[in-house]
């Protein structure tokens, strides 16, 4: 048992928030790591070496890339809408950060009491995250409309169609998890799972959620918005330098957040057996470590998918969403209600 001085107890939410905030800053490093993982994994799949020059195993390649992006000329097409064109990447980035404040990035157990590391804790954080995630589409449309390019516009339209199709099953699966738990607070959902993860309780829900999430993030079987062979670079065609970098990073951070969501909602979050949680030292590290490990595994799965499968056509994507995933997610909702009633009783 650690004795916590009396005067610190009221400050605990603040400390927790500050630690969470610093982890939010670290998410930038996480995005760099994601890019590195992507490059190395794709190289492994394709019998290549991947980045190997800058730093050990090419770990600093992303730093070099960032320097390159910062020093590049900031170009703007002649007929671009300046206001939209300049601010859209910032808008995208901010929407990602808004998402980030509600997502806990781990938890510490002090004296067996759980303190989640989130910047803020709200009662409807799952809905809030969903909403903020949907906002990125405005950033994408700002980019596409502002850059006055037909490829960008086509890419953004595809993104719209996909987003509209996939937010629905995504929302329904999230709500069905919430119904079963009896709360829409993501911290509560995560911690209430215990060792019986939601993936075992709602396997269909997990599959639907994972596919919808991939589509939401625009990873390969669903990356019609920037399909290189058709639209050159899709919505981001006209961007260079750090503006491109911001959009690029926003995408990767979005991906990391998606992995967080999967780990939190379906893979049991930071829950560890009680003896670990009660251990004064392990309780501080193990839950967060365990949670991040799961996140990285999910991230690698998402990344690996990109290099192993072909891309859908946009009408097939929309088909898949409305004709397959939506009925499945509704089925899962019914199942979750029933299961929730049964477990609750």
């Amino acid at each position: 048992m650690i004795d916590i001085p009396e005067f610190i107890v009221p400050l605990i939410p603040w400390i927790r928030g500050l630690v969470g905030l610093s982890l939010v800053g670290a998410i930038f490093l996480g995005a760099m790591g994601a890019v590195w993982i992507e490059r190395k994994l794709s190289a492994d799949i394709q019998f290549r070496y991947g980045p190997s020059r800058v730093g050990k195993f090419g770990l600093l390649q992303l730093v070099a890339d960032a320097i390159k992006l910062f020093t590049k000329e900031d170009m703007r097409p002649r007929n671009a809408d300046r206001l939209l064109f300049d601010n859209a990447p910032i808008f995208m980035m901010s929407s990602v950060f808004l998402m980030l404040v509600a997502i806990p990035v781990g938890a510490v157990f002090i004296n067996g009491v759980e303190y989640p590391l989130a910047v803020t804790e709200m009662d409807i954080s799952v809905l809030y995250i969903e909403a903020m995630s949907a906002i990125t589409i405005f950033g994408i449309f700002m980019i596409a409309y502002g850059s006055n390019n037909k490829y960008s516009l086509l890419g953004a339209f595809r993104n719209f169609a996909r987003m509209v199709g996939y937010e629905v099953p995504l929302g329904i699966t999230v709500v069905s998890v919430g119904i079963m738990t009896g709360s829409l607070n993501i911290v509560e959902i995560a911690s209430s799972q215990g060792l019986l993860w939601n993936i075992f309780l709602q396997p269909i829900g997990f599959i639907v959620f994972f596919i919808a999430l991939m589509a939401d993030m625009g990873r390969l079987p669903f990356d019609q918005n920037e399909s290189e062979e058709e639209l050159v670079a899709g919505w981001i065609t006209e961007y260079t330098g750090m503006r491109f970098g911001l959009g690029f990073f926003a995408e990767y951070i979005h991906m990391i957040l998606g992995s967080f969501l999967v780990a939190l909602l379906f893979l049991g979050g930071w829950n560890v057996p009680a003896f670990v949680a009660n251990n004064p030292v392990l309780g501080l590290i193990a839950p967060t470590g365990f949670f991040l490990l799961k996140t990285v595994l999910v991230l690698m799965t998402i990344i690996g998918m990109r290099w192993a499968v072909p891309r859908f056509r946009i009408d097939q994507v929309v088909d898949l969403s409305w004709k397959k995933l939506l009925p499945l997610s509704l089925l899962n909702l019914v199942w979750a209600v029933g299961l929730g009633l049964y477990l609750g009783a």
Binding site: D44, I45, F47, Y49, G304
Partner: protein, 136 residues
């Protein structure tokens, strides 16, 4: 389903890499690789068949000393390597077998100007350093 594809991709991960780390590991060349030509000055008779054969007119016949430092001059081919296709016709058509293929494909050919790419008979005979003035 897509699972087979994913399985195939995962199975590839431990396999051996086929690419090379380029400047450190040189690419393997076949025995018949056609690189920078080598001139055997003792065999060359300066007939000019190579110059007539060259599809890109990269070969000129010029007067050059028969050995380094020698005052005696004879006719030898001079190849503008910037125009050379490395097709090997000059080598095949040479009646005396004076030309042959070397293995150099980058060495001696990294120069600032096209003018420096002119391979004089001394250079072709490897009497002088062909790497002189290379940009690395």
């Amino acid at each position: 389903m897509v699972l087979k594809n994913i399985k195939y991709a995962i199975k590839n991960i431990p396999k051996k890499r086929v690419t090379r780390l380029c400047p450190e590991v040189e690419s393997p060349l076949s025995d018949r690789f056609r690189g920078l030509q080598i001139l055997d000055k003792s065999k060359c008779i300066g007939c000019g068949i190579c110059a007539n054969t060259c599809p890109n007119n990269a070969i000129k016949i010029i007067k050059a000393p028969i050995a380094p430092g020698s005052g005696k001059q004879r006719w030898f081919p001079e190849i503008d390597i910037g125009h050379c296709l490395f097709c090997g016709l000059c080598i095949d058509q040479c009646p005396k077998g004076a030309l042959s293929s070397g293995k150099e494909y980058a060495k001696g050919m990294v120069k600032w100007t096209h003018k420096d790419l002119l391979m004089t008979p001394d250079k072709l005979a490897r009497e002088v350093d062909i790497e002189e003035g290379d940009e690395r």
